[in-house]
């Protein structure tokens, strides 16, 4: 890993306020062109180029009011990336937000936080006090989300800011067209915005020197599970998952079985796939996604079927309940998976799960349901033995599963 890439955000020696003021003095079109040239992509998981988002928001606003929201919600409890930045470099996020506001012409901005991140909240409030006099007519407020996974979804977040239940909204129209209070809104993760002062200082080319061609820059990842030093690390895009594990001291304890990449809706990759490169495209090709950038090491005493069922159990509790595939689908998939690890599985459960995964992916309203299909797709592909042992031999491959249910779903016809 090139040393220049390390800790660009977390340990950046940068006068963010200065860069902010420089950016605000720039022509907004130029500023957007600079961000576009840098190739900066959204760190929230989907990886949409920030430059294009800025341009779309600005165009939609057409001189009218617009909003910027820094999503520092950290929906995945296992991946406190935004909190890490806010604790270490809150000014990067605030000034990044100000730069984005300048680019789209917004005069209101929100720092959207988890309700339980007390220290991060205090840190950002302190930094905001410092920055506020220099922000001019830009009003920045700290807003707290409702807690729970769904609170971090970009459209649910807008609903929360409008004092409504955290529920996803169908896109298009994207927030860039109709966001908060029906006005164009730039919603970007705190981590993405934190890169803006760096880009303004170093320029697009310098930013692109790190990372890969399609995913430039560095990324915060949260390494959890059975590793020597779990925590948040900043790595350049393009490193392999194995290299990230090495940064965290390598897998520990029992034998290393798999890697759960991307948070609760992410897929689980086999331990042999440590060569997979960390960038948006490679992870997608591997069947998962960057998501919350959590990389969790799973050891050999974990039954993958059980693990998948637990994930769907979590998802079925966290779904916003609006669309059918997600509200009912996650519950039904959980039930089928629990049936399998309770040794009630049948051979045709696997094609069935495949079918339900396709349905989740195709018919869900927001990224929650769409991406959760990757759990099924990857686990069935990467760990077929775990499923087969439970279904064919009615035994747990790791000997750890205790039956969760005594009855499975049955097909019945109206008599």
């Amino acid at each position: 890993m090139p040393s220049s890439a390390a800790y660009r955000i977390l340990d950046a020696e940068i006068d963010a306020a200065h860069e902010r003021d420089r950016a605000r003095a720039m022509d907004p079109e130029q500023l957007i062109a600079l961000v576009e040239a840098s190739g900066l992509r959204g760190r929230g998981g989907a990886g949409f180029p920030l430059g294009r988002k800025l341009a779309a928001t600005r165009a939609s606003a057409a001189g009218g009011s617009a909003y910027v929201v820094a999503n520092a919600y950290d929906a995945d409890p296992g991946s406190p990336l935004a909190r890490t930045i806010l604790l270490k470099k809150p000014e990067l996020v605030i000034d990044g937000l100000a730069i984005a506001a300048a680019a789209v012409g917004a005069t209101s901005g929100y720092l959207y936080l988890r309700p339980d991140g007390e220290s991060a909240k205090r840190a950002v409030e302190r930094a905001l006090e410092v920055a506020r006099p220099a922000l001019g007519d830009l009003q920045v407020e700290v807003a707290l989300g409702p807690g729970g996974f769904m609170g971090g979804e970009e459209s649910a977040l807008l609903a929360v800011l409008e004092s409504r239940r955290a529920m996803a909204r169908q896109r298009p129209p994207y927030p860039a067209q109709q966001g908060l209070l029906m006005r164009p809104t730039l919603v970007s993760s705190a981590e993405t915005l934190a890169a803006l002062p760096v880009i303004v200082r170093d320029g697009a080319d310098a930013f692109k020197r790190v990372g890969t061609e399609t995913s430039p820059g560095t990324k915060l990842v949260s390494v959890t599970g059975a590793v020597a030093s779990p925590g948040v690390y900043e790595v350049a895009f393009g490193v392999t998952l194995g290299e990230i594990l090495d940064r965290a001291g390598g897998a520990t304890g029992k034998t290393f079985k798999g890697l759960h990449v991307g948070g609760p809706t992410g897929g689980i990759l086999n331990a042999t796939r440590t060569g997979v490169v960390l960038d948006y495209e490679s992870l997608k090709a591997a069947g998962t996604h960057l998501g919350s950038a959590q990389i969790r090491v799973i050891t050999s005493d974990v039954c993958i079927v059980n693990e998948a069922a637990m994930l769907f159990d979590y998802l079925s509790k966290e779904t916003c309940g609006l669309c059918v595939p997600c509200r009912v689908g996650t519950k039904r998939v959980e039930g089928i998976l629990e049936g399998i690890y309770s040794d009630l599985g049948r051979a045709d459960d696997l094609p069935w799960l495949d079918q339900l995964a396709d349905h989740l992916q195709q018919f869900s309203l927001c990224g929650f349901g769409i991406t959760s299909a990757s759990i099924l797709k990857t686990t069935m592909r990467e760990f077929p033995d775990d499923y087969r042992r439970h279904i064919d031999e009615k035994s747990c491959p790791t000997g750890t599963c205790t039956p969760a249910r005594s009855r499975r779903y049955e097909t019945m016809a109206q008599p």
Partner: protein, 804 residues
């Protein structure tokens, strides 16, 4: 161009407004393609609206053109060129040149999956399959609900609307209703038959049997019913209730037909049967003439000559089918029906202690003969040419027979009767194997060569079906028979001869009692219409329409498990040599407990429910999400506390239409999505009664609800009274009435008066029940023609013209 750039970003883009039918002139339009067809759409409207206007059937459950789209139900998803995943058509505005695929196999499968999910969390049902399954279509959930409340006589009354003999049928019915009971999807079906049996038994103890409705005034018409069996007596009962004078002719001395002479005492005690059948004779102008046989004592022409206006033939099927094998005529081979009749009448029968009896067949008569013989002390073998599964008798009957010590022999067909000193001494059988299915869907047995064997016996009872005795037909012109020896009748059960109707076994061939009762009921209806001079072709069409089997979908029911309340039975040991009734009957507690198990699979929204319609369109006849753990389903409490709106969360599909209409159109904002995750449900805040919200009782939510989750309460005008002294003629009631009941004229107070005048005062009971008495004479439309009456005091815009 990016996705973002493709869509014009502006508030005016919210695609909520649209127009059905023609596009108003002056609207900016654009061209799109849906399923290969070029469509003109209004700029800014949703694809769904454009598709609907062009006549495409895009399914949707959460769309209302008054409301902002929610894209919640995920049914209207279509493939749009340029989008990698299907997009909700309700939410996507049309754009020039858009290419949309609204129907494809892939979308159909996905939508079907969606519906399967919805139905797996829709703890309700639309049409009770039991009611559909019962040939008489008893309102089963209705009477079970009454029974659960302890209103047993009322329940019996409800049953008697279509089935006059609930006690008898409670004992002998094969209960096709129970086979389809949806409680069976939870654990065990409801004992439906036993429940109405209890209600019937209870009404036997009443001095006068309850009738479903009061007998109508005498019509002066006379109906002759031939045959006092289930079909005939049912026909007589309902014809008499309609006010016709009914005479029943019966060839035997006593009433009951096959119920009395075909069904043995241990299944149906004759004393109680008589008591129940006597309910027919309790009706005015009904008469029983025993010992009168058609063809022997009278003919149809005689009856018509005697002045009967209509005749119903319910003569049953009393002749046993021949075996068509050598030795059939030997002494010792006896006819099944005569055997049962002799036994029932107390006549001597050729079966006794130590007899060895072979009964051939697999139907109800087979087992009646076998079990009767067993009770007479015989050693009985039942031989059937197919397997147990194919037997026509109810499986409980077969199981019981086996437990009572009757030997069962399957896959054997008789070849000849073995003769010994001029008598039957055994039957030679040939083994059969099952071959290809025949027309009835049952696999046809094929003989195995060289597999013959003999069962020794002294009595042979062939019970392989019966046919009606139609020898009287030769002298009766105008009544034809089919090749199967049954009477020809049309859809209104009328034979070729006008005024002569036929039903039951003699028209269908031997069937179950309940089917005969159903036909008797239909025949009574047809006769009534015939006597009123209606066009019989139209009556036939109506009956066909009513009897049409509706399509049913599969919805996952969920209720805490509770096993069926077991019917107390006579122990098997006591059954040998005893004709005592086997089923001891429920007591009050047991009947009420069992009736309370009913899932009440009825929904007033049937036919209007979008979920039902879409599920039928997508062919959801099975569901893969049955019978898992309680955590997988929801069982909500009803909220029927509101005066106008009934809420049943079990039927809610979270489409959020009520949320949006109440918030955005009405402004009361009573509903929201509450709870979390899978347990999210649309309800009031803290799930309080709707009465405690800002509800204005407008009914908009019930109107827009795609299922039966929100429904208007059935209303009774008599409870709504206009206190003219207090009314300030504000017109608010006109504004909010969702049914336009008060909006018929510009002067709503007049429409109120008219309404009271026509609907309330016309009915004396209703008027008497009211606390408010109109202080002045209220003019009726008919009176106003005669003289000009001063209308009641009205405020501007002035008095209406009463004689207009």
């Amino acid at each position: 161009m990016s996705l973002i750039e493709q869509i014009q970003p502006s508030e005016s883009q919210i695609p909520t407004v649209s127009h059905h039918g023609e596009i108003p002139s002056g609207q900016p339009v654009c061209q799109i393609t849906i399923d290969g067809r070029a469509i003109t759409a209004v700029v800014g409207e949703s694809i769904l609206r454009a598709a609907q206007r062009a006549g495409f059937n895009v399914p949707t459950l959460c769309d209302d053109e008054k409301l902002a789209p929610a894209a919640a139900c995920r049914m209207c998803l279509v493939d749009v060129e340029g989008f990698e995943r299907p997009m909700p058509s309700c939410h996507l505005p049309v754009e020039t040149g858009m290419t949309v695929t609204a129907t494809s196999d892939g979308l159909f499968t996905m939508r079907k999956q969606n519906l399967e999910y919805i139905l797996s969390d829709h703890n309700a049902y639309c049409m009770p399959p039991c009611q559909v399954g019962c040939p008489t279509h008893i309102d089963i959930p209705g009477y079970l609900e009454l029974m659960a409340k302890g209103q047993h006589v009322e329940a019996a009354r409800l049953v008697k609307e279509v089935l006059p003999f609930p006690y008898a049928l409670g004992l002998v019915c094969p209960a096709p209703c129970q086979e389809v009971c949806r409680r069976g999807l939870v654990e065990e079906e409801i004992a439906i038959r036993q429940c109405h049996g209890y209600g019937g038994e209870l009404s036997l103890e009443m001095e006068e049997a309850p009738t479903p409705f009061p007998q109508e005034a005498a019509t002066g018409k006379r109906v002759a019913v031939i045959g006092a069996g289930p079909a005939g007596l049912t026909c007589a009962y309902y014809a008499a209730l309609k006010g016709h004078a009914v005479t029943v002719f019966e060839m035997e001395e006593k009433q009951g037909g096959m119920l009395r002479y075909g069904i043995p005492e241990y299944r149906l005690p004759k004393v109680k049967l008589d008591k129940e059948l006597n309910s027919v004779w309790q009706l005015r102008a009904t008469e029983f003439k025993g010992g009168m046989k058609l063809g022997r004592d009278f003919t149809i022409d005689d009856l018509l000559a005697q002045g009967y206006d209509a005749i119903f033939l319910g003569i049953g099927a009393w002749s046993s089918n021949p075996l068509r094998i050598p030795g059939e005529d030997l002494p010792g081979v006896i006819e099944a029906i005569s055997y049962l009749r002799q036994n029932a009448s107390g006549d001597p029968v050729p079966v006794g202690q130590k007899s060895r009896v072979v009964v051939m067949g697999g139907g109800f008569t087979t087992f009646d003969c076998a079990r009767t013989s067993r009770r007479l002390g015989a050693d009985v073998t039942v031989v059937y040419r197919r397997s147990r599964k194919e037997m026509g008798a109810h499986y409980t009957e077969v199981d019981d027979a086996e437990h009572e010590g009757i030997k069962l022999e399957f896959f054997a067909a008789p070849v000849r009767i073995v003769e010994e000193s001029g008598r039957a001494a055994g039957v030679e059988f040939q083994r059969m194997a099952l071959g290809e299915p025949d027309a009835s869907g049952r696999r046809r047995p094929v003989p195995i060569e060289g597999s013959e064997f003999i069962i020794e016996c002294d009595t042979v009872i062939p019970a392989i079906g019966q046919s009606p005795v139609l020898d009287w037909m030769e002298t009766t012109p105008g009544v034809r028979k089919t090749r199967r020896e049954t009477i020809v009748a049309n859809g209104a059960l009328m034979t070729d001869r006008p005024g002569v109707f036929a039903g039951g076994d003699c028209q269908m061939g031997p069937v179950t009692v309940i089917q005969c009762v159903a036909q008797g009921k239909l025949a009574a209806k047809a006769i009534d219409r015939y006597l009123a001079g209606d066009d019989m072709a139209r009556v036939a069409a109506e009956i066909r329409e009513e009897e049409k089997v509706p399509e049913l979908i599969d919805i996952v029911p969920y209720k805490p498990e509770e096993p069926q309340v077991r019917m107390p039975f006579l122990p098997f040991a006591d059954r040998v040599k005893s004709f005592q009734l086997i089923e001891k009957g429920y007591d009050k507690g047991a009947a009420e407990k069992e009736a309370a198990r009913c899932l009440q699979c009825v929904c007033p929204d049937v036919g209007r429910c979008d979920l039902q319609r879409l599920s039928l369109e997508h062919g959801l006849t099975e569901n893969r999400f049955h019978r898992a753990e309680p955590v997988d389903y929801h069982d909500y409490e009803y909220d029927f506390s509101h005066d106008f709106i009934l809420r049943d969360l079990n039927k809610c599909i979270n489409c959020t239409q009520c949320v949006r209409i109440c918030r955005d159109v009405i402004g009361a904002n009573c509903y929201g999505l509450m709870g979390g995750g899978y347990d999210s449900i649309v309800t009031t805040p803290w799930n309080v009664s709707l009465s405690y919200t800002d509800c204005v009782s407008c009914g908009a939510c019930a109107e827009t609800c795609p299922t039966g989750a929100l429904m208007m309460r059935e209303r009774d005008l008599q409870t709504y009274e206009l206190d003219v002294v207090r009314c300030i003629y504000c017109g608010d009631c006109v504004e909010v009435c969702p049914h336009g009941a008060l909006g018929e004229t510009p002067n709503f107070e007049l429409s109120t008066y008219q309404r009271f005048g026509v609907t309330v005062l016309a009915k004396e009971e209703l008027a008497a029940a009211r606390t408010w008495k109109p202080s002045e004479h209220i003019p009726l439309a008919s009176e106003s023609k005669r003289e000009r009456i001063r209308p009641p005091e009205i405020r501007p815009p002035g008095p209406p013209r009463w004689n207009a």
